[in-house]
């Protein structure tokens, strides 16, 4: 346990000295929080007068039986940002893990590291946690700011309430961590084969594609993301994580790292 902590502390003091990593971790969540809030702010006035129930997909309007058309529309707008928030827990850990693992390869620190009494499990756990903790902190922090911001901008308890429904809570606190773990596992696997952290990061970041497709489908009105969809995504991610973690830990063996990582 203690060695994991030591590992995490070292990871943070090292990887955040890299300006690019620091930029991604600090600015991406800011951007993903500010953008929806700006959109909300600018559409606040136009929304109420010109739009109503007609612009909301039927699946959504079915859920707003007790609310006014404008409230329903605004709830719909904020719900569109859900998938955007789920990109934070993928991008951040993928960036940190790629830079940290490829970094260990280029400085050739893996061999002296593996010569210490740390277990490969502790090492992998340290790397994984060092990448996921900042990601989850950023995701949850951004979510909190988004909820507060929405409340300040719209001062509508119904819309704010729609943000703390099980749909959002499941996505942010359940699917988010699962996505982070998938991101790190893939970054570990790709970093073992690639010697440029930027390449590793970009390849690993491709895991975001399914989420982007989902986001696109949702924007085009092809898919409607509700609680059931999120639960299914969560279940699928749990299984995928199991498989990915298994493969990542297979790659993360002393002998494999020293003799097969190129």
């Amino acid at each position: 346990m203690n060695k994991i902590k030591v590992m995490i502390r070292k990871e943070w003091s090292e990887v955040f000295k890299n300006r690019f990593v620091f930029f991604v971790v600090a600015f991406m969540p800011l951007f993903f929080t500010a953008m929806p809030l700006i959109i909300l702010y600018t559409s606040r006035d136009s929304g109420e007068s010109t739009m109503g129930m007609g612009d909301v997909p039927p699946e959504f309007s079915a859920m707003c039986d007790t609310t006014s058309g404008a409230e329903c529309f605004q709830s719909f707008i904020v719900s569109q940002f859900l998938l955007l928030f789920l990109m934070i827990p993928i991008i951040i850990p993928v960036t940190i893990a790629s830079y940290s693992i490829v970094g260990e390869k280029t400085t050739r620190t893996l061999e002296p590291l593996l010569a210490t009494p740390i277990t490969t499990g502790e090492l992998l756990a340290g790397k994984t946690l060092a990448a996921t903790i900042p990601a989850l902190a950023a995701t949850w922090g951004s979510y909190l700011i988004f909820v507060i911001g929405t409340n300040v901008i719209l001062s509508n308890p119904v819309v704010t309430g729609s943000l703390i429904e099980p749909l959002w809570l499941l996505a942010i606190f359940g699917v988010g961590p699962l996505l982070s773990i998938a991101g790190v596992s893939i970054a570990v696997m790709i970093s073992s084969r690639v010697n440029d952290p930027r390449v590793a990061e970009q390849l690993s970041a491709l895991v975001i594609m399914p989420l982007l497709l989902l986001f696109l489908g949702q924007t085009l009105g092809l898919i409607f993301v509700d609680q059931t969809v999120i639960i299914w995504i969560g279940l699928a991610m749990a299984i995928i994580d199991g498989v990915l973690l298994y493969f990542a830990s297979q790659i993360f063996q002393r002998e494999t790292i020293l003799t097969r990582w190129k």
């Binding site: 210490t116 009494p117 020293l258």
Partner: protein, 310 residues
């Protein structure tokens, strides 16, 4: 805690490592006691680094066994790691972290009790204390090498593996590192040094193994020189004739006698005893002796001959 039932700190038996078809290490059997500096000498690709990786439980042997500080490789790997210090082929330091942070991190992983004291001790010992807060990325090669040596010692290991400790260092830095290694012997550690610097092995090592996948020879530096060539005496003659060599060779204490230019080179077991008789008989048959001297073979001759003969 060191398991001292076994006197040898490094003990291998038929240790082998294959990478597919290639036998990087082939049937290595050695035994190294505490307090000994052991030189592993071999050309590029001989399997020196692979041997160190095997003995530090970083990779698993294909065949054979090894015990380090009494612990068996493959079965008690964590115990081995606690008792072993390693200077890897490349220093392997975190460039963005300071010297102090680098050592502190490893000291904690090595479960060192008083991290700060131990880090300070070795930073001072290797003359890096004043630069402890600087990022290692700004260090010179020699400073990095010293820092990596300090890291190998933080947990006071009883067995030390040094993979080419002075490679890439200028003569002064190399001398400093060599003197430092020499001092480490006094604490009763077993030290295995890989090198292709023959002079270094000659000066530092108590015993030397000449190694190219297989063990080619193993002995003290002096004995190695003698084992291959005996001792050679050179007679500088005003005129060297073949009959001098024939006359000398007929004596039973002489191993070989050869004429080279104006010199007669004679190898024999014990020159101190037999030289006067040799000189006398040469003079008797008309040889005019200008100088008599001993031909000192360098370890390099021995080494090159072994590696080439192979």
């Amino acid at each position: 805690m060191t398991n001292t039932n076994n006197k040898a700190m490094i003990q291998t038996d038929n240790l082998s490592k294959h990478f597919g078809e290639l036998a990087a290490v082939d049937g290595l059997t050695i035994s190294i006691p505490a307090g000994e500096i052991f030189g592993l000498l071999g050309p590029n690709g001989a399997g020196k680094t692979t041997t160190i990786r095997l003995l530090t439980a970083l990779i698993a042997p294909t065949n054979g066994t090894a015990h380090i500080a009494g612990f068996e490789v493959g079965k008690q790997d964590t115990d081995i790691r606690r008792n072993v210090g390693i200077l890897t082929e490349s220093p392997g330091l975190y460039d963005r972290l300071s010297a102090e942070c680098n050592l502190g991190f490893f000291a904690e992983l090595y479960e060192v009790e008083h991290v700060a004291e131990q880090v300070e001790r070795y930073l001072r010992m290797l003359g890096l204390w004043d630069r402890r807060n600087e990022a290692v990325g700004t260090f010179s090669k020699g400073m990095r090498q010293k820092l990596a040596i300090a890291r190998a010692l933080l947990h006071e290991p009883s067995v030390l593996f040094l993979d080419e400790p002075t490679s890439g260092l200028d003569p002064e830095a190399a001398l400093l590192v060599r003197e430092f290694i020499n001092e480490l012997r006094q604490d009763g550690r077993a030290i295995l040094i890989c090198t292709h610097n023959l002079d270094e092995a000659d000066r530092l090592a108590d015993r030397i193994a000449i190694f190219n996948s297989r063990l080619l020879a193993l002995d003290t530096p002096t004995a190695l020189r003698r084992q291959l060539y005996g001792r050679s005496v050179v007679f500088h003659l005003s005129k060297a004739e073949p009959r001098f060599a024939q006359a000398v060779e007929s004596k039973d204490f002489v191993q070989t006698a050869k004429i080279m230019d104006n010199k007669l080179v004679v190898t024999l077991e014990d020159p101190e005893t037999h030289n006067p008789a040799l000189v006398r008989s040469l003079v008797e048959i008309g040889a005019e002796i200008q100088f008599v001297g001993e031909l000192r073979r360098s370890l390099e001759d021995v080494y090159l001959r072994m590696v080439r003969d192979e």
